[in-house]
Symmetry: C2
Subunit: 276 residues, 2 copies
């Protein structure tokens, strides 16, 4: 059996009881190590599980899948993934290889950034398409994610912006501050280009910066986009939420994590249309 086991978002104790039982029963345990990070290292997990872990980098998962699946028809093998195995990054490739080799597989789910962001108070069923922000280079400055965010917002929907998903290079994690800065550069360029046109998302749009969600030291900061540029939320992983139409209960929840200036802005939302 191939077990795909989600580790959740915080530390070693965020694995489920079922997941831990499976890990303990497996003869080989791989830790997927290239798309995401826990706030604890491999050693802390090994100590918690009482098991040695094999780090699975991108090469191993893509070129060495046969090695991972070796004998998995007669023994149990676990593949551990931060968050949920089918969260922001899916592991369909490995599953399909198992299926084609006649190896049964089982998924043990856990929280991922895709559902845990609900804790900031924005309701998950009011989110539109998720977008990813990438680091710009001198010659490559994609803006398509901005149009998706605006499209969501026009439809009244919130947007989850995944940051720093750089899996083709050594990991480099984008901060909420960097993401806000990139968005504002786009807004300024568009404003010059499309003079007079009303932009869907501006410097005043209420956004939520989220860092290390699910960990003991998680940080959630609700503020106007312009304020988030100078906001230091500490170490990775960060995500940015751009609000759409806000329900009064969502406004109340956002107040809990709001900057003083944004509080005022939320008050304005609250007392008018609930849609900034």
């Amino acid at each position: 059996m191939l077990y795909l086991i989600g580790l959740g978002l915080g530390d070693a104790a965020d694995i489920t009881v079922k997941g831990l039982q499976a890990v303990k029963s497996c003869s080989r345990v791989y830790l997927e190590a290239y798309t995401s990070i826990l706030t604890v290292g491999k050693e802390a997990l090994e100590e918690f599980y009482g098991k040695d872990l094999i780090l699975a980098d991108r090469d191993l998962v893509e070129q060495g899948a046969d090695e991972i699946l070796k004998d998995a028809d007669v023994t149990d093998v676990a593949f551990l993934v931060v968050g949920d195995p089918f969260g922001a990054t899916t592991h369909s490739d490995l599953v399909l290889r198992a299926v084609h080799a006649g190896i049964p597989y089982r998924v043990i789910h856990n929280a991922s950034i895709m559902n845990a962001v609900g804790c900031c108070g924005l309701q998950l069923y009011n989110f539109g398409e998720t977008v990813s922000l990438v680091f710009w280079t001198d010659t490559w400055r994609p803006e398509s994610f901005y149009d998706k965010i605006c499209k969501n917002r026009t439809a009244g929907l919130h947007t989850l912006c995944l940051l720093g998903k750089k899996i083709f290079e050594p990991p480099r994690f984008m901060t909420v501050s960097q993401a806000a800065d990139q968005l504002i550069q786009i807004i300024q360029r568009r404003r010059e280009e499309e003079q007079g046109a009303e932009l869907g998302v501006t410097e005043d749009t209420v956004c939520v910066g989220v860092a290390r969600l699910g960990a003991d030291d998680q940080k959630i900061c609700t503020a106007m986009l312009r304020q988030l540029v100078s906001c230091d939320l500490g170490g990775p992983l960060h995500s940015l939420l751009v609000t759409g139409r806000l329900h009064p209960l969502e406004v109340d929840m956002l107040r809990v994590s709001a900057e003083p200036n944004a509080l005022q802005h939320l008050h304005m939302i609250d007392s008018s249309t609930y849609c900034s």
Copy 2:
């Protein structure tokens, strides 16, 4: 401290190790019992946790919140929620009451239907707005969710349809078959009404029926919408996914759970545009 603890989707062992530790440390443990169900009952959970549980029905959570929060500033109280505390149903009300009473709170996340559906092979970041289907009455036959599904699909996005979220009455759970039937009634009515207009979602649209996701006996069935009408996926909870634009890897994953006829349809998708 008020702990809001997600139980995940399957049975007692789907709680996280961190969640279980918190449950054991609490002086009172409430089980939210009106919006969702586990595949196991209260007694099985009590045995697994070694703790008595207090069932929290809708009245208790809405009118008796003070009782739940009583002394939570000096003792630990747990509020257990199937899935994630901020999944399909949020518990913002209780959190806000705690905040206003000066009681610290902590969320221990888990998988919810909102992220666990990724295991069928559709990528979570390609989902649009989530919709809820409700049982029709003789005089109330809302169709707005159909327009949302079509809007998502036109934008290339998948839709998660939550079924049977009836929290104002004794729970009654809609099956995938009933949901498919309701959708087809809408499609037929629209076809008569808007003669010649091309509908965004039809009887031939590839959909995925999901039952008891995360449980040992979960069922996933990929088929054309018309096929799902006669598809029996067993006991609750069911969800329905309507596909948008399909990536080749998504098509390959859907094949794993596909009905023979839908297989043929997926083959057609596969060999043409990847967008049915």
